[in-house]
């Protein structure tokens, strides 16, 4: 499967999604796979943000932060969708599973957010390590950087220490799939 044909590459470069023109991708199948995984993670996060906002468990200032993070993740998904094309996973392809009490109290809502953004960060980092296309690697790196800020924000809201992880661990596709399995079916 060709990830980035000439036309799409030109389009992406023009759109600023890719910043490195003329770079060959070493393994396009792995690239597509990594992009699909990251896009699905972004849909899961979007579903989480929606449920968190609807739960009524967050303070007003926290809600504003969550709304911003949701907008960021939607932008990540849109960028990945442009890369993947029409076969990008959508909400119709995925089932988001949250425990019945996952949003019953502020503490529960934030704990789940910390968990999911942590998995997302590691999944995106795994993509950075796996993909051959430098443009896609750059995009996944930028998404991982933003996700790291989301994770830190939620850790802080939950009263934790967001500076404790000096080297967040990348997850290979198999590991990320296992970590996501309870939430993404």
């Amino acid at each position: 499967m060709q990830l980035l044909g000439t036309t799409r590459r030109s389009l992406l470069l023009a759109a600023g999604v890719l910043s490195l023109p003329g770079v060959a991708h070493a393994d396009s199948e792995t690239d597509v796979s990594s992009a699909r995984l990251s896009a699905s993670v972004e849909r899961l996060l979007n579903a989480y943000w929606a449920r968190a906002l609807a739960s009524g468990t967050l303070a007003e200032r926290e809600r504003a932060a969550v709304e911003q993070m949701r907008r960021n993740d939607r932008a990540h998904y849109a960028a990945l969708a442009t890369v993947i094309g029409p076969t990008v996973p959508t909400d119709d392809d995925l089932e988001f599973v949250f425990a019945a009490d996952a949003f019953s109290a502020r503490r529960d809502t934030l704990a789940l957010g910390v968990r999911l953004t942590g998995i997302a960060l590691s999944a995106h980092l795994g993509g950075v390590a796996a993909v051959g296309d430098r443009g896609l690697r750059s995009l996944l790196g930028r998404i991982a950087a933003a996700e790291s800020r989301h994770h830190a924000a939620l850790v802080r809201m939950a009263g934790g220490n967001d500076l404790s992880d000096s080297l967040p661990r990348p997850l290979a596709a198999a590991e990320a799939s296992d970590a996501l399995a309870p939430y993404l079916q």
């Binding site: 796979s33 699909r36 995984l37 993670v41 392809d93 089932e95 296992d178 399995a181 993404l184």
Partner: protein
């Protein structure tokens, strides 16, 4: 004795027209192999012919006498519609791909990514049959097409594939989640990551050559109605979302 023989003759004679009428009313439904368990539950009165969807599509093109075509994908019915051979197809079910292993799991597979180990005897569907096409899609989505090198057999339909896995003729095979249910405890299921799943959509259409298009359309209404959806869900299929109007009606 003579009265008994006469009575049997009279009863038998009275049944013949009824039987003929039943046969004449019976629709011939060409259906994907993966529907072999659930379709007779939804409407046991019809005559079903189960096979790979591509084979059935060829039969439609060859003008085999039939009334309804139900495929395990959208492409084949859509193509037949474009050719003017069927009425507009509708989605009636969804499915998921899984990795089946024999109950004894001789290769000790725990994840689809274990297929990378090599030396695994893998069965898949032929490229032309939907399950084979979906398998290639899911392997590409997972970045695992290299495992196609370990394929020992390519099957014409998913029923044959499932049987071979159940009999231990392979270490693993890609099939639908519903086939795993049908095979019972003879197989184990390894779920595939949701993010790599292909869009498995079943479409059904009435053949334009059907001798009774009204009855064929009634069959499709039954399939997509409340009872049909319940039976499909009970068999492990998914069903498409109802239009808003239908949802409101269902709530009333």
């Amino acid at each position: 004795m003579r009265r008994s023989i006469l009575l049997i003759t009279v009863v038998a004679a009275s049944l013949v027209p009824a039987a003929n009428a039943a046969a004449a009313d019976q629709l011939t439904v060409l259906a994907a192999s993966s529907l072999r368990e659930v379709f007779p539950q939804i409407d046991g009165a019809q005559r079903f012919s189960f096979a790979g969807s591509d084979t059935l599509a060829s039969q439609v093109r060859a003008k085999v006498p039939a009334d309804v075509f139900a495929a395990a994908n959208a492409q084949l019915p859509d193509a037949l519609f474009a050719e003017g051979l069927v009425e507009r197809p509708v989605v009636f079910a969804t499915n998921r791909l899984v990795l089946l292993v024999p109950a004894s799991n001789p290769a000790n597979l725990r994840s689809v990514f274990d297929l990378r180990r090599g030396g695994i005897k893998l069965i898949i569907g032929q490229r032309t049959v939907p399950v084979g096409s979906y398998t290639r899609t899911v392997l590409a989505n997972l970045g695992l097409t290299s495992v196609l090198g370990t394929v020992v057999s390519q099957e014409r339909d998913v029923a044959a594939l499932t049987t071979k896995v159940a009999l231990g003729e392979a270490d693993a095979g890609f099939a639908y989640a519903t086939d795993a249910r049908a095979a019972g405890d003879k197989v184990r299921v390894i779920k595939l990551p949701a993010w790599a799943q292909p869009r498995v959509r079943y479409k059904v259409a009435v053949l334009r050559s059907s001798g009774d298009r009204a009855a064929a359309n009634a069959f499709i209404r039954k399939l997509t109605g409340t009872a049909g959806r319940k039976a499909l869900l009970a068999a492990g299929f998914g069903v498409p979302a109802l239009p808003a109007k239908s949802r409101a009606a269902a709530r009333r």
